[in-house]
Amino acid sequence: MTPAPATPAAPLNVEALRKDFPLLTRTVHDRPIVYLDSASSALQPQTVITAMARYYETTHANVHRGVYATAEESTHLYEQARIVAGRFVGAPDPEHEIVFTKNTTESLNLVAHSWGRTNLAAGDAILLTEMEHHANIVPWLMLAEEVGLEVRYIPVDGEGRLDLDELDTLVSGVKLVGLSAMSNVLGTINPLAELTAVAHRAGAVVVADGAQLVPHVPVDVAALGVDFIAFSAHKMMGPTGIGVLWGRAELLDAMPPFLGGGGMILDVKLDSFRSAPPPARFEAGTPPIAEAVGLTAAIEYLNEIGMDRIRAHELALTGHALARLDEKLGPDCHVFGPPAGEDRGGVISIAYRDVHAHDLAQVLDQFGVCVRPGHHCAKPLMRKLGVQATARASLSLFSDEHDIEVLIEGLVEAGRLFG
């Protein structure tokens, strides 16, 4: 592990940090792996893997039920993860406001299902953005089909930012605003605090998709002012299978359950049930306990390095990458999204000459480079951009300038092959 930083601005020792990730030691096609797909799923440091193994080796028992020692310890570790996850995003009351789910998608579905069905009725309007991931569109479209909602969208401009010119008109009368905190295609970091203030003035509740932002940028829900934020452990170096929903206590309190079953009730009779208070109300069945332990370890790892240092590293590397791609490949290489800056994360979606993204990714794989080709579960945005697919390279705290050089080497080879 890296020692705590002397000053917040101290640059990362990436070479040392890379040793924390066992997967980075493997080779692919006889070349060292160059992992540029953290926006899809991040790698795990050894501490996360060890914490989960140690939990299974020494502690595992179901939570909230047994009175024996390991059951108590398991429950404590699971509840501890709630506190750790809540503090990580500045939740004022993590014990009551952090709900564990399967992933960001389930968190957003929970809001659409429980908050949406209770608070939205036929004819109501909601406002999303054109850059949403399908996870923040489809649950709302499903609800719209069911109850009859008007779904509006904030458009995306030519630089890949939200076009806020018509915002006042769009937001007028809407009951909910769903916003990506950071685009998984463009890297755009949206002005969440500003948009939330506008939405609140219009009387709308704001749900933020934090899947891309929370792992890479310091987040404080109190400062942002949003009402819900969803994120996934596996994108922040934790395990798959656990996601987080933070919601304002008063909103969660007034929401009906999502899934029914054990753990989410106070009492059950043959003809009725009473549900438990949040967060238990939204956590039916045995939860992802080992995954919660892994999430705690992941957050401790990120905290020890410091989110501000991680952000500074990734921002600088994004700038470097965009400059190098331009310098080496020129206009043949088109990168979507805004230029590197405060409103840009380390997500680099590339179109290179007219080589299809799948062919780019296939050639890059031969160089050990892992990128994601495709529509990135954002088809409305891809239509807007006028492309079927892009090859997306995404940065992490362990990414470095060498990774970018190998990426460029692979792109050049793809260009040669498809000439």
Binding site: H29, H356, A357, H358, D359, Q362, V363, Q366, P373, G374, H375, K379, M382, Q388, A389, E413, L417, F418
Partner: protein
């Protein structure tokens, strides 16, 4: 990069760069069928014209990666003008070539015994053999073939 060169053979790149039988036929009389790969967004649109038990003409539209587009182009050259029985046999043989390695990867096609596959019968199509080493890309190669099979089925249903 030996694997890559096996995947992206010159004939595949040639069909990708200069696709044969591109376009659309007037429908009707042609039958129009679409194929989508929801994972990557690749799409193919095939217009089929059957006359006298033969696939008299076909045109290919759509867009996608080099494998999906070259496979569609190679397919169009191979099946154009052929009796429908022969076309169906070729679909079976081609998908057999694609499922030798793909069978255990959740491909729902009936597995075809290796000895049944006569690569000579496939002619230029055999160039796509390298795809089976890249299981994720098999769906790209079979996209147009599945659409063609679906189109023939639909026409047979309409005729009966």
């Amino acid at each position: 990069m030996a694997d890559l060169e096996e995947l992206y053979r010159e004939i595949i790149l040639d069909h990708y760069r200069s696709p044969r039988n591109r376009g659309e036929l007037e429908s009707p009389p042609a039958h129009r069928v679409e194929g989508f790969n929801p994972l990557c967004g690749d799409e193919v649109v095939i217009s089929l014209l059957v006359e006298g038990g033969k696939l008299a003409d076909l045109k290919i539209g759509g867009s996608g990666c080099s494998i999906s587009q070259s496979s569609a182009s190679l397919m169009s050259s191979a099946v154009k003008g052929k009796p429908l029985e022969e076309v169906r046999q070729l679909i079976h043989t081609f998908k057999g070539m694609m499922s030798i390695h793909g069978a255990q990867l959740g491909q729902d096609d009936e597995p075809v015994e290796a000895e049944e596959i006569n690569l000579e019968k496939l002619g230029e199509l055999a160039a796509l053999q390298g795809v089976v080493k890249f299981p994720v890309r098999i769906k790209c190669a079979t996209l147009s073939w599945n659409a063609l099979a679906q189109g023939l089925d639909e026409m047979a249903d309409q005729a009966s």
